[in-house]
Each structure stands twice: as structure tokens, then as C-alpha cells.
Subunit: 346 residues, 3 copies
């Protein structure tokens, strides 16, 4: 619960972000908070009706809510059609990304030329022919191989590895332990069962505004490239196989595995711990539920669930029966007995 | 199979740890071993009846067993109500954690003041305002951000990342590649499907005596903190989402995923590769089976299994039918035929 | 799509690798490519009949194919009984592993003696008594503990951690973020629910020609060793528990979890995201499908699928019913109604 010392006036927020202000515009807020955790320096929000009753007790100086809920709170408030999105923007105002100090730590090993304002932490290694954009902040212990491209304004947290030749766009945020460009899992089998490695000569090519979570791994392509398009958001511990393509603005939650050569469309949302086998085609605007196991291509937008995955409505109906399997077995047995009795009679 | 050179006398063990010694107390043991792998310098144990027949052939100098099994071995033995727990303590005696050398490697970059006896490996970075407790051992290449607190006696293996402002209690053991405090996965969606990042301004707060496995990730809270209470044990490659709370002494096996804002009680045990969706409440003393998928809050202690998870006994009965689904379908078809025949007759 | 500048003549390839050349042996190829992505400097291959129609349009200078498909392409071609394996070898010719420069970066901290031709990147730490084989290439930021053995010709990508005392054979390829030798998850429980750590005193012992993917973790043994035999290939984000043994030439895809003390045979293939519980015995030549959950030992070679896993043929039949559970429930209800009606009549 950090926040900008002096805070921001509510009328200043509305001037910048739009929305309708109800109440005293000269009030200052210094931090974002939940309705429950708010104090009189906080601005909070109501995005989910089930928290509505908390409005009565919150200590927040101001609350962001939908116009339809405008009367549910009597203090200062900002009305917005999408309170959660508005809250995200307010939080960005109150919690700006600290800019780097523009220093390259003397212990970093830099074998390329850097723009003047790049910040590089202790113990980093940046290889020859790497191209680092203006304003990048590279945390301690990151390793960027030969010829890596990192777009302007990107942030690498400590301990990120980017292999030779991989491309990352502007404004990336990559968390600790992420590995970009490791070899795909490609081997041909000898008659005796041993394996011959297929050199993985493709790259990883990542668009602009991509976020990559901690310890997520993205393999380089076997022959062509692995591609992550603009605006994709990847959570922690995701595995992206070689030659996968992930479409723009797709968001993928933690622990998902995507096997090689699968193509995922734009604006998809994939729940945590889902797994998708290789060589599939998932169209735009697909939602995959948490822990689903996708074994077939999907050509219709919509929600898919289950293992193996099926359209969500069908899955709901079938999954409901999973808890009644024993009862079903008993009913079948009972039917068989009754029927045998009847057959004997007639 | 290392061990203390000179070894320990059996009577010394019993003097320190309790238990009843039967046999020659002057015998020395130098290492712990399985019954099968033991030699005459080894102390072994019987904690599982199915290994009982190995007592006849073991070369162990001494065996730890329950009083009820006292007569199953004729050599020196230590009787304890919980032989496995007793064995753990004996192994700790024979394999003490090596203390650090109290040196800070000259290649480490330290921007705070350290107690005299802290050991810091090559290439570490410790940020300003970080507070490191007495006797900590920090392996090569660890990165601790600004304001990190690490309690006394903690051990970080090489390559641990702890983000700014996170708190770790005393006597922590954190393995390589673990990431503490990376951003939670929080984005609000624009009308066009693109994502606006919600700054993750909470911290990770970890209690005392916590162990964290290799490549496990724990995200910082979105607004409030992510909390791991005292005595929690986390295995490798676990993902803990933002604002999760894990109760004291809960143990979680490898590859588990816990989505955001879920609260897990005290003394729970969660099997490997289980997944738990977000915003749930799991009460104290719950056991979750390996590979379970928990989709609902749990308010009764006990064991839960399956995907989706249900009480273990019910799951056992239902899961048994999963292997008979085709047979069930055939029996239904057969019933339909016989019934149709009968209906025609009457 | 990199490749050797000057390229290789087709007759030179056949002289080295065998196979039958049809067409102009003086043609040079510079890179491998898919049939679709090929240009006139490329050599491509046909290993899967479903791409056969692409032969008509490919720009490839030469194609590798099976003798039975020899007439399907009119350009230069190499005939081989196993085109995919042949392609792997051609790709190795065209994309040789760059050898290291044999330099130890001045920022590396080396507490052992190294052979003359070992390459060590910036910021590495190699502990006392470690033994590094000839020709090894160790990427930036790797940490090898006391007494680690690394066989000749091994490649460690940046940020690999190998704990004290672990053994890795010759020609290993280990990707970034892999952790070898972290503690197994071993604790004994006190009466009050708290945990006592069991020191993990075994090692990890890895054979020759093993590849280990990014962020994969292999725990050291509790008492005896964890063992990975020759020729094993592990993909990314795999978790191998303490005292597991993986037999020679077994290949395991990404995100698999193997719990402690399980033994896996030789030449097995384990699909992505599969999980295997502890203390099982899997025999040689077993194939486990992606996302399977193995809960019992397997003593017959063959393919196993499902959660819980069963022989693949049985699983196919049962899994087909999973999508008809609601229909089954409806048919049972209908049968009950009809039967009741009939019972009333007779």
C-alpha cells in the first residue's frame, strides 16, 4: 500500500482520466485501497456488486463506481462506466513506474553500445550486437545474448535470460527467472531408441506491450520463429513450446502449458493450469477455463472447459454427472434386476 | 550419503533426543541410511511395516523403531513412538547445516549495512534499506531488492530473487530460482480487448521457519499483501498468486498452482500438481490429493480428491466408475433393447 | 533460419550421412527449412504424409524423403528410410554448435582448476573441488557448488544452478534456470502439525548425453541419490522429486511432475503436463500421454492415458463417454420411467 506522497486531487484525476466527479474536487487521495482496507487517504472502487454493502462502512476518501450505483455511497465519488478499468488508471497515476537512474552498474558486462538513459543492474551481461532501446531498465543478473533486441521502455526484473538473436518489442515487462529463447524440444529417434538433437534455429519474436511472468519459459522455434504478438500478457510459470504463435492481446494465467506449433488467436483468455497440445489452431476470442485440457482445434469463439475440453455449456452438463457416477452405476444395476424379474414374469 | 566424520554414540543420541536405547550405547553411527543401503556405520529406521522384512538383512549398526516392533530387530536399537520423526532429528545431528564463513564475497554489491556474521556469495546484489538478520547465508547470484527484510539464520541458495519491500522471517530456507514478490497478474480490459496494468502495490510477507522450493514463485499483493504464515513448507515449482494467504504449518508439494486471493488454512497438506482456483476459502486441516482441482471453498477438515475435487470417499466411489463408462453405456443400450422387446410383448 | 554461409554440396551430405541422392550433387544448400518456408538455398524434408501436397509448390533446392515417396518431388532429393532423422543430421551439419572461445571471463569466480579450453561466462561461480571436463561452455551467471562434476563437452546456458556434490556426465546440454540438486521435499511431522526437516544428503547423478530444459528442477536424494541415466531428454519446467530414477533414453515433455522415489524405465516417452505419483515403478518402453495422471505402477510396455491413467485403448473407449454423461443420465431416467410403467401393467 505505497502511494505518491503528496497525493492527487480528485478534480485533477477527473481532468486527466474523464469520468464524472460527485463531491469535493479538492480532496486529495494518496493511495488505492480495497473498500475494507481503505483509510481517509485512500481512493477505492466498487466493481463487483457483492462488495456493495461494504460501501456503508468504508473509510475511503473517495470511491469509483458505476453511474447506476452512484447513490450507494454518500462521500466523494467518481462515476465511470467501467470502474475497474478507471481504478487501474488511477492506480497508475498514484503508483508510477519508478524510472531507472540511467546508470550502468560497473559490475555489468556490456559488449554492445547502450543509449545514454538505459539502467543496467549489477552483474548483468549484454552480448555483442545486442540492441537496447531508450529508457530500458534491466535488473541485476540479467543475461541478454548476442544480437538480442529489446524495445524502448522495457523493464526486465532481476535474473531474466534472453538467448541469442531473440527480439522483444517496446514497453515489455519481464519478471525474474523468465527464459526467452531456450531450445525447443526437438529430437529424432534412432532405431535403438536414442535421440538425435534437431538444432533449434528459429528465434523468439515478441511484440510491443507484452508482459511475461516469473519463471515463464518461451522456446525458440525449431526452424521458423516462435511469435508472441502485441499486448499479450503471460502470467508466471507458463511454458510456450517452439513455433507457437500467440495472438495480440491474449492473456494467459499461470502454469499453462502450450505445446509446439499451436497457434492461439487474438484476445483469447486462458485460465490457470490449462494445457494445450501441439499443432492446434485456436481462433480469436476463445476463453479456456482453468485446468482445461485442449486436445482439438477450436474454430468458434466462446468458452471451453474440461479435460478433454468441450464447449462450456456441454461441459457443465456432463461434469455435473461426474459426481453421480456411482449412483448411475447403481441405478443401472437396479434396472437390470427389475427388468430380469419382469422378463421372467411375461 | 555424507555424515559427520567421528560419528555419534548411541547413548549420546538418546541423551539428546530421548527414546529408549536397547543394546550397546557406546556404538558410534556416522550416517543415516535406508535399511537396504546401510553399512555398519549407519543408523536406519523402520517407519513403514512393509519394510519390516528388511530388518533381517540390514547391515545397520542401529535401527530406530516403534516399541511395538522392538523385537523385530536384534541389534542395537532406539525405540520411539514416532520413528520417522526421531530419524529426522538424528539425521539433523549427523548432518548439521554447514554454517557460512561469514564473508561477503568482494564481487557482491551491497547497498545496505550487514551484520558481521552474514555470508554473501559471489555476484549477489542487496539493495538499499534491506535488513538482513544475523547469521544469514546468501548464495551466489541472489538479488534482494530495496527494503527487503530477511530474518536471522535464513539460507538462500544461489539465484533467489526477492523483489523490493518483501519480508521474509527467521530461519527461512529458499532454494535456487525461487522468485518472491513478482507482480500479480492484474489487468483491466479495455473495450477493444487490450489490457491496462493494475500496479501491484502489496508485498509478500513470509513468517518464520518457512521453506520454499526451487523455481517456486510467490506474487506480491495487488493492493494488500500476499501472506505465508510460520512454518509453511513449499516444494518446487509452486505458483502462489497475489493476495493468497497460506496458514501456518501447511505443506504443499511440487507444481501446485494457487490462484489469487485464495486463503488456505493452517496445517493443510496439498498434494503435488493440485490446482486451486482464486477467491476460495479452505479451512484448517484440509488434505488435498495430488492432481486435484479445487473449484469450491472447503469448510470441513478432511481429505478431498478429484477434478473437480470432492470429499475423498465420494471421489473414490465415483472415480472407480470412470474406468467402466463404456461398459455402462453398453449396459444402458442393452437395457433399452430388452425393454423395447418387453414393451412390444405386453 | 540461420545456416552455414558457404553451405554444403548435396553429394558431400550423402558422402557423410548415407542415403541415396537423386539429382545434381553439386547443388549447395545453406539452411534447413519447412517445405512452405524454403527458398532456393534450403533443404527441406517430408516426414509426414499430410504435407505431401506441399512438395508441388516448395522452393526448396532439395528435399529429403522416403524411397516410397521418391517420385513425389522432381527436384534434387535424398532418399532415406527415416527422413526426419536424416533431416536432424543435416541440420546438425548446417548448424554446428558454436564452440566456446576458451576464455574464462574475468568477472567469474573460480575456486577450482579448469582445463585450458573451458569457456566460462561473466559472473559465474564455480566452487572448490569442482571438476569441469574439457571443452565445457558455461554461460553467464551459472553457479556450480563445491565438488560438482561436469563431464567433457557439456553446455550450460546462462543461469543454471548445480548444488554441491552433484554429478553431470559428458555432453550435457542444460538450459537457463534449471536447478540440479535442490533439497527434496522431506519433513517429518510433529504432533502439533509442525514439520521437522529431514536433511537431504543424497546427490543428483546424471549420465552422458542428457539434455535438461529451462527451469526444470531435479531434487537431490534424501538418503541415496536421484539418478538420470544416459541419453535422457527433459523438456522445460519438469519437476523430478528426490530419489527418482529415470532410465536411459527416456524423453519427457514440458511441465511433467514426477514425485519422489518413482522409477521410470528406459526408452519411455512421457507427454507434456503428465504427473506421476511417488514410489511407482514404470517399466521400459512405456508411453504416457499428455496430461495423464499416473497413480499405479506399470509393468507392461505400451501406451497409457487419462487421469487416472489406464491402457490407452481402454481410456479411448471410456473417455469417449465423458462427453455423453448427461445423455446417459437421461437415458437411465427414461428407462426407469418406462420400466415403472411396465411393472404397473403386468
Amino acid at each position: 500500500m505505497t502511494g505518491r506522497g503528496a497525493g492527487i486531487r480528485l478534480d485533477e484525476i477527473v481532468a486527466r482520466l474523464g469520468g464524472e466527479l460527485v463531491g469535493d474536487g479538492s480532496l486529495r487521495v494518496r493511495r488505492v485501497a480495497t473498500l475494507e482496507g481503505a483509510d481517509r487517504d485512500s481512493i477505492s472502487f466498487l466493481a463487483n456488486a457483492r462488495y456493495r454493502k461494504q460501501l456503508a462502512h468504508t473509510a475511503a476518501a473517495a470511491v469509483i463506481l458505476a453511474p447506476s450505483a452512484a447513490d450507494a455511497f454518500s462521500g466523494a465519488r467518481i462515476l465511470s462506466a467501467n470502474p475497474y478499468l478507471y481504478f487501474a488508471r488511477v492506480s497508475q497515476l498514484l503508483n508510477p513506474q519508478p524510472s531507472g537512474d540511467g546508470c550502468v552498474h560497473p559490475s555489468a558486462v556490456i559488449e554492445t553500445t547502450l543509449p545514454a538513459d538505459v539502467t543496467v543492474g549489477a552483474g548483468c551481461y549484454i552480448g555483442p550486437e545486442a540492441s537496447i532501446g531508450a529508457g530500458c531498465r534491466i535488473g541485476a543478473g540479467c543475461v541478454l545474448g548476442r544480437g538480442v533486441v529489446l524495445g524502448a521502455g522495457s523493464i526486465l526484473y532481476p535474473g531474466v535470460s534472453i538467448y541469442d538473436g531473440c527480439i522483444v518489442g517496446a514497453r515489455a515487462v519481464i519478471h525474474s527467472g523468465a527464459v526467452i529463447g531456450s531450445d525447443g524440444f526437438g529430437f529424432a529417434r534412432e532405431a535403438d531408441g536414442s535421440w538425435v538433437k534437431i538444432p533449434q534455429v528459429g528465434r523468439v519474436v515478441i511484440g510491443d506491450d507484452v508482459e511475461i511472468g516469473a519463471n515463464t519459459t518461451i522456446d525458440r522455434g525449431a526452424i521458423d520463429d516462435t511469435v508472441v504478438e502485441d499486448g499479450v500478457k503471460l502470467d508466471n510459470q507458463i511454458q510456450v513450446g517452439h513455433n507457437v504463435r500467440i495472438g495480440a492481446h491474449t492473456a494467459i494465467a499461470g502454469c499453462v502449458g502450450i505445446a509446439g506449433s499451436t497457434r492461439i488467436g487474438r484476445r483469447c483468455m486462458i485460465g490457470g493450469a490449462a494445457d494445450i497440445i501441439g499443432h492446434l489452431d485456436i481462433c480469436d476470442d476463445v476463453v479456456i477455463s482453468a485446468a482445461a485440457f485442449v486436445t482439438k482445434s477450436i474454430s468458434e469463439p466462446g468458452m471451453y472447459s474440461g479435460a478433454p475440453a468441450e464447449p462450456h455449456r456441454e461441459w457443465l452438463r456432463n461434469a455435473a454427472q461426474l459426481r453421480h457416477l456411482e449412483a448411475m452405476a447403481n441405478r443401472i444395476r437396479e434396472l437390470e434386476k427389475r427388468l430380469a424379474r419382469l422378463e421372467k414374469k411375461t
